[in-house]
Structure formats: C-alpha cells, structure tokens
Assembly symmetry: C3
Homo-oligomer: 309 residues x 3
C-alpha cells in the first residue's frame, strides 16, 4: 500500500514531495499501459461516487472515464437541485449516505472548505474536484503532469501565467507547485485581476523568482510555457473595458512569432477566444493533450487512495 | 432458480414468508462476500433500467450501486421532463421501450399503482421504488434487514414508529412486516398525523399489539428500536404549530437518557433536525448503517428476480 | 479490421453496399449471441461518450445499452445547459475535449451538419444520432434491420410510409435505403406534409417505383410493411385541421381488416395515437421489437468503427 492509501486529496500544498512523485509516476505508468492497448482492472468491483453541487462537465467526465478505465463503476449526482440537499439535508449527511454506497467520493461544491467538511464526515477517501474559491488539486496536478510531458523537464522552467490571476483558482495552486520545482514565474494580468499579494508573498517566501507585468509579448519571449486563462465578463463593471482587455490577452500566430521558439501553450479550457483557432495547428499547442492528461492523473489518484495502484 | 425468479417486487404484503426469508438471507450472503473483499459477477452482461419519474437520489444511487456491485450495467432516466413522456407517450409505452433494452426495470413514479401498470406492460421483472401514496417495498425490506442486523433478533421486539405516520409511506409497509414478525408497536404522532385507522385495524387483525400515544419519552423507554420520520412543513396550515410539534419529536442526548438501554435508532433519511447531531456518536445510532443496507437488499432483489442469485 | 474501422457514421447514403451488409450481418450475429445467453467483451476497456445537445432518451438509452452489452463503459452529457457550451465553448472544442476521454463519440444536436463538424474536429470515430433536419442514420439502419427480420426479405417489398413525410427525418433516410433494395414505396401524407419533391425526384432517379396518395386504406391493402410516423400539432396553424387529419392517419383493428394479410406495422415511437392500443396484440405489430432492434444495430456500429467486431 502506498503513502496515499486511504488519504484524502484536498489541496496540493499538503502533498509531500514523495506523494507528488508517486502521483505523477503512477499516472505515467497507467497512461503507458493504456497506450500499449492494455486493459486495467485496478478498481474492479469498486464504486466511485461523483457529487457535483455545481456543474463541471469536463471534470465529471474525466473522473468517470478514469474510474471506468480502471474497471470500476460510477454513481453520479450531477444536479443538486434534485438531490436530498433540496430537502434540507446537510452536506455532511449527504456525504455519509453516499459513503454507504461508494469506495471513493469526488466532490465539487461552490463553497470553500466543503471538501474538507465531507472528508471529516466520512471514512472513505475524498477527492476535491473544486471547492469554490478554494482549491482544485486535480487540475493543478494534471497541469504539472502536462508541463513535464510537453517540455521533458519540470525544474528550472520559465512559465508565464496569463489572464485572470485574481479569481483563477487553478493558477493559484499551480503557481505553488511550480515554485516548489524552482520554476521562474511571470504573472501577466490586467489591472484589477492581478495575482493576489498574499500568494506572491507566499511564493517569494519559498524562494520563487517572480515577474509581474501587463506585457504578454515580453513574457512569452522568455518563457518555456505559457498558461492562458479565461477573463470572465462578469468581473467587469464596464463592458467596453472588458472588450479592450480581452483583446490584449490573446495568443495568435502573430504573438507566437515573438514567443520563445518551441513554447508550450496551455489552457484549462473552455477557451472563449483567448487562443486563436489558427494556433491549434502549432505543435506546441498542448491544451487538448492537457485535458486528456486529466484521465491518467485521476486514474492515479483513484487507485492510490484506494490502495489499488 | 428461486421462487422469485421473473417475479415483480411491487408490495411487501404480497411476499410470502419463504420469499421474505430468501431476500434477507441472500442480502446477508452478498454483504458478507463484499466485506470479505470478494467480487461478484452475478449480473455480468445484464442491464438494469432505473426510471425515476420523480427525483429520489438516494434510492437511485442505491440501486445503481447494487447493480454495479453485481457486475451489471445501468441505464437511467432521472429526469422525466426530458424524456418521451414529455412528448405524450404513455407510461406503458415508455416501459415497453425500456424493456427492449434492459433485463430488469426499477420504477419510481408519483402516481399510486404506476409500478403495477409497468409490470403489466412488460415481460421483464419490475421493482417498485416508490409509487406515490402506494408502496416502497425496498425501503421496508432494508428497514427489516437493519433491525435484524442491529438487534440480532426480529421477532418479539418492541418498536416505536414516530413522526408523520399518516403520510409516511415507509412506516405503513414496515408496520405490516413487523406485525408479521410478532413485534409490539408504539405509534407516536402529533394530532392530525396519526397512523391511519384502516392500517391499525389491519394490524390488529393479524394479532399485533399496538400502542398509540403522543408521548415519545414513554414509548422509547420500553422500545428496542425507535424509527423516526420527518414531519413535513407543508402538512401544516399554521407554521407556528409546525415549529411547536417538530420540536417535540426530536431525539437528542437528553431523550436518550430516558430510553431503554441499547436502543437502536433508525431514520429513512434525510433528517432535518429529528435526530440531533450529538446522537450520531451513540453506538446504537444506526441510520447511516441503515442507508448502506439498501445496497445488499437491492443486490438480493436484482439477483433473485433475474435468476442469478 | 473491417472496412468501417475508424470510419464515421454520419449518413446512410454514404454507406456502400458492402458496409451496409456488414452492419446488418454483424447486428444479427450479436443479437444471436445475446439471445443464446452469451456475454460479449468486444468493447471491454473502451469508453463511449454520448453527447446529447437535445434530449432523446430513447436513442441515448439504446446506445448506452449497446455499449454496455459489449462490455464497454459510457460517459454521458445529457444536458447541454450545464455543459461547457453554456460558457461559450464551440462545438468543435467540446468534441476535442471529449475525444481526449473516449474511444467513440455519439452526437445528437439540433443543428444540421453538426455531426460532420464534430467528425472533422476529432480523430476518434463519430456516430450521428440525429442532427436536426439532417440525418439519423442509426434509426434508418435499425428500421431496415427490422424489415428484414420481420418479413424475412428486404428486396422487392412494398412499403407504405405514412404521416408527416415532410419533416420526418427518419422517413427520408429510410426511403433512400429501401429504394436501393428495389422496394416499391407508397407515400401517404396529408396536404402540406408530403414527401419533399427533391426526395421523390432522387428516389425516381435511382429507379424506385413510387406512389403518392392520401388514401391510407388503399396503400396498406397492397403493402408488406406500413411505417407510421407522428403528425406534430405544431406543424398546423389551425388546431381543428390538426385534429381532423390526425384522425385519418390512424391504424386500428378496422383498418387492419383491409390491410394485406400479414402486414408488418412499424413506428419509430413514441406514438401518440397513430396506432390504436388494440393493434398491440396483432402479431405483425413490430414497433416494440423495432425499438429493441436499436441495440444490436448500435452494438454493430460501435464494434465496427472501433475495429472490435
């Protein structure tokens, strides 16, 4: 049994180096076995419950795929409006009920701290699939896995994170992980959507080299990886301001010309214009490979917490 | 093949003693095999269709888990608004269509008699997962299974049923089963929500010893099991009356002090205050074990009607 | 590997005779194996993604059943309102994401040409489960499979297609297939809902013998098969006109008396009065067998495009 057996996966900053390595290497092993045409039975006879208290089709499908690729079964609550929560049941009671059915629970909930609340209520392992302004550890892990696969490295890279860095939960967790690997980070965000000061302070505390700018061109000129995120219209009071800013945080062929040769382009998806369609043909355009990497990462997590890796 | 092969499970009162024993013993066998780490394949290659014409997440997940624990597959219609019923298709036609896909059908429908209607329309076995004011036999069966597991007995127990006994479909079926086992029953309900007279008359006819009271304390003082149910706000014209009554039908630590030592506490869930959170730590608090017992009971039913026990 | 390996199934008119035969014979083989109690593992370890951008419970359940009967797993997006499309993601991007999870994609979408769009975007095989006014090839294939099974023949039959022939996507594809087999066709439709002239012209071009009439009685008197479709209320401005016409396109026992003996009665379902309930007992009433035939046809398609037949 691994160090992660019976553990909850709630935040990336609680993962030890050993645990992190184990997740990444297990994911790589599973991916290799699938690509070789192998069939896996690690989770045969086991049930995963995915509880989505807010919609996230991509994350839900990725977990359901991962569990089934391992031979396991899935039960899903995708619409909380028709669930017992509507009858006034507490989250802890809903979780304890589902723990009577399933061997692992995945929870997505709009309230920060909800995943911890579920983990405290049940005996089965819990994986956080996003808890509001909190964490989304499986996304950060698949991002790191993607960077490693695409660049062949992980340490000492220069990575630009661009777009909405204030509300983008993903970039917060990812920054922490990249800082641990000694990456140099550029944060490129419009005024008002900058990386929160407490996060940059944290990152500098662990020795990260950080540059903050509004100049995307300059940043990608020095970066091995650029990680784009969506700027959401609802963050702006003035629609014209939104349109203006949005246009300045787009990767297109012209920008690619000014980027460091071989740069890897990532995006957690869905994109809504942040990456021009013409970029899709560029071989470093990794965003659809990135989303596919969610499957081996989640396979690894499921098998590890269930003690069936 | 067992006596239940190709049978429908529509109501508990139609089950013979032999059938009842078979269900309970098969559930116990499956539960033991799962707990020993065994993997079951009884329903491998088979398909269960779960048709939910009203939401019941708990019951749906329990059946889906049961089928998958037996190695079978599941197709689900969880939202009748997007189904063919919305185009004006009759329930019988919808059922006959699904019978072209599945080996067993589970139906939940708000109209009393709907499960019988489906059973009349199709050749595959049908299990009633609740038909309005009618029956909910799998809930009653898992309740009996729980009582037997928790108390180590079944016959000659004293059981208090408390809360909304008028509209609570579950307590009607359960009372009948407990009366068959020679249990003594206390019915504790606020005025207006008492057990219907026709049911108490029926129960007395089969020789049941029944006490009716509004005094929960007195009842639990003599009971081996107390079965709480939710009192629904919408049953009351006067909200103040609801709040007053609701408060007097709560199990908390203070009440536990006055209960018979070792009393088993049950609830079909979700609870909305009928059992204080402080009671969860009490070892006789059986409600979350009760909900988990829905899986082996439903595994037994699925395998028995499919002739694959 | 068959000629259909890695192919998309988007329209019936693009299928060669060889491909058509392969689909029908593979379906018959799978159906035989299931009926003999066999268990199939062709798609073991594989994942089917079913993307339903408009509801179609029947088609969705049929595909999910087919995949699971072959031992495969399923992920489903049944409600586009909660999917990434709601965040502004393009259909092509949604498809590319899902292609990172699944081995085969089934798509249902209200926009004509959407299935082709998905097929162009991804590397995995795509099956069209209905694209608006476009095609619904798997329905046409299961219809042909049913005609062959029910009549024991396929070539040289006389087939009446009745009801809404203008908007009925299914009857368009089916007519083309039947014309290829040299069937004689009667089109029976109320004024305003006739088979479009471009389709009858196409059919005559390939040598089909076609009769157009409003007289259902005369047509069924000479037909081996009658294929009824639903006339939708919303096609009529005048509700009285709808009620009048609707009543004249109904198969009941009286009409059956005037039909060719042994006539096979089909309907894509759901029916809303086009076939009287009294007809269900007639042995040539094939509509519920027809809907069940969707499973072996879709099993055949899944296995063939995945190269696992």
């Amino acid at each position: 049994m691994s160090v992660l057996h019976r553990k909850d996966i709630l935040r990336t900053d609680l993962l030890s180096d050993e645990e992190l390595e184990l997740i990444l290497s297990t994911a790589a092993r599973f991916e290799g076995e699938l690509q070789a045409g192998g069939r896996l039975h690690n989770m045969a006879g086991q049930i995963l419950a995915t509880l989505f208290f807010e919609p996230s089709t991509r994350t839900r499908l990725s977990f359901e795929t991962a569990m089934q690729r391992l031979g396991g079964g899935v039960i899903t609550v995708a619409d909380s409006k028709t669930s017992s929560a509507a009858k006034g049941e507490s989250l802890a009671d809903s979780a304890r009920t589902v723990a009577g059915y399933a061997d692992v629970i995945v929870i997505r909930h709009p309230r920060q701290g909800s995943a911890q609340e579920v983990a405290d209520a049940v005996d089965v392992p819990v994986i956080n699939a996003g808890d509001g302004a909190g964490q989304h550890p499986t996304q950060a892990l698949l991002d790191v896995y993607t960077i490693q696969k695409e660049t062949g490295a992980r340490e000492g890279l220069t990575v630009t994170l661009a777009g909405d860095l204030k509300y983008g939960r993903t970039v917060h967790s990812l920054s922490h992980l990249l800082a641990r690997f000694g990456c140099r980070l550029f944060f490129v965000a419009p005024a008002g959507l900058e990386m929160p000061a407490r996060i940059t302070a944290d990152l500098r505390k662990v020795g990260a080299e950080i540059g903050e700018t509004t100049d995307l061109v300059a940043a990608v000129g020095e970066s091995d990886v650029v990680y784009m995120t969506r700027i959401q219209r609802e963050r702006f009071e003035d629609p014209a301001e939104y349109e203006r800013l949005r246009g300045s945080y787009v990767i297109d062929s012209a920008l690619l010309q000014q980027a460091k040769p071989g740069i890897t382009i990532m995006h957690p998806l869905p994109r809504v214009g942040e990456i021009a369609l013409e970029v899709d043909a560029y071989e470093g355009a990794a965003y659809f490979r990135q989303v596919a990497n969610g499957v081996p990462i989640r396979m690894a997590l499921l098998a590890l917490v269930a003690g069936r890796e």
